[in-house]
């Protein structure tokens, strides 16, 4: 997608900055936790894989020995036991129970087999070869045990695979989309706040300068006034008022005799 430059659309205020910072902390913590979970799941995954490989080997061997037992039974009891067996099928006596186990936060299925009622195969090989038939039966029951265990390993394996993929997807999303976006938003808000502060600062400085100029002007005019006062006092001492002439002239219009 359009990665690095994105940021959230927010109003650049101080409260929003606090909210986004909290979200970034949450995202960082979540990212660390998910990474740990992914590592734990991967460890389990590898362990199960090893077990699966070993069990598959042993399954191959067990199937071989059970087929051999079957061949023996067929040889001794005659080839027709197939039909007898197939006819005798009613309800299964070997069934499988499934339950879920919680491993590192993931629900994995687990199968275990259990025997219900006894099969109706007691009459098979009654004529001859009963011992071989029984031997074959036990061999196959053992094979079923191994196969059930293998099945539960396999399903846990597939489920773990799914879970690991999901967790890794989340880790990557946090790392490359959510966190950069939040960081960009934070730097944007900080930039805006700084600019506002600079504006304020500039305005303040301008007002200060203006005030200073005003004060200087006032000082100058008051200094001029003080000097004039001093000159007036001096001239009054000498008997002439510097302003007197002005005052006479300005005072005369009140005299009705003088017409100007």
């Amino acid at each position: 997608m359009s990665g690095q430059g994105q940021r959230l659309n927010v109003v650049p205020t101080v409260t929003v900055l606090g909210v986004i910072k909290a979200r970034l902390i949450g995202a960082t913590r979540g990212h660390a936790l998910l990474k740990k979970k992914s590592d734990a799941l991967t460890v389990q995954f590898r362990a199960i894989l090893k077990k699966i490989v070993a069990t598959k080997e042993s399954m191959g061997n067990i199937m071989k020995s059970s087929s051999f037992a079957l061949t023996e039974a067929k040889y001794v009891a005659g080839d027709n036991i197939k039909y007898t067996v197939i006819e005798n099928v009613k309800t299964a006596s070997l069934k499988v129970r499934s339950r879920t186990e919680n491993v590192a936060g993931v629900k994995l299925p687990k199968f275990e087999y259990f025997t219900e009622a006894e099969t109706k195969n007691e009459l098979t090989g009654l004529a001859r070869g009963g011992q071989q038939v029984q031997g074959c039966k036990t061999a196959y029951v053992k094979a079923i045990e191994v196969l059930v265990e293998l099945a539960s390993l396999q399903t846990s394996f597939l489920t773990l695979d799914e879970a690991i993929k999901t967790t890794n997807r989340r880790v990557n999303a946090l790392e490359s989309v959510v966190k950069p976006r939040l960081e960009n938003t934070i730097s944007y808000i900080k930039g805006e706040l700084d600019e506002l502060e600079r504006e304020d600062f500039f305005r303040l400085k301008k007002i200060q300068a203006f005030k200073k100029r005003e004060i200087e002007k006032q000082m100058k005019s008051s200094k001029q006034f003080a000097e004039d006062q001093a000159a007036e006092n001096l001239s009054l001492q000498r008997g002439i008022s510097m302003n007197a002439a002005h005052n006479m002239l300005s005072a005369t219009p009140k005299d009705a005799d003088i017409i100007f």
Binding site: V96, V106, Y140, L147, L150
Partner: protein, 130 residues
């Protein structure tokens, strides 16, 4: 969390089988076979006369039945419907490939192991399948 594939806790589930006659006989002797009231069995005997379509249908049926927890399938039969087996990705029921008398177990073609062959870089179990 995102556990879309629900793993049901079943108290009595069957084991379905798709294999050749001898293997099925052996497992039926052990007591895995089940025939219900509608004469539906949980096994399919595959011989030279069975068509691929029949095998496909049986596979689809076994994997959609909810009282079947495990499906055992002979490896050479699995090779006939390899695309179905490889595209199957539900955790339950579990698909297990078993060897038969004439075809010994070949890990290179196992659908599960081939998915993770990349994990075994040097000691590759399914390294032949490339």
């Amino acid at each position: 969390m995102a556990n879309r594939a629900q793993i049901p806790t079943n108290n009595s589930a069957l084991i379905a089988m798709i294999a050749d006659e001898d293997t099925i006989t052996g497992f039926l002797l052990a007591g895995v076979g089940n025939v219900d009231l509608r004469r539906k069995t949980n096994y399919l005997i595959v011989d030279s006369k069975t068509t691929v379509k029949q095998i496909e249908d049986a596979f689809k049926e076994f994997t959609t039945r909810d009282d079947v927890a495990i499906v055992l399938i002979s490896q050479y039969v699995a090779n006939m419907i390899r695309f179905l087996v490889d595209s199957y990705n539900k955790p339950v029921p579990a698909i297990l490939e078993i060897p038969s008398k004439d075809h010994p177990y070949d890990p290179a073609h196992d659908s599960v192991l081939s998915r993770v062959k990349y994990l075994f870089s040097t000691e590759s179990v399914a390294s032949d399948r490339r």
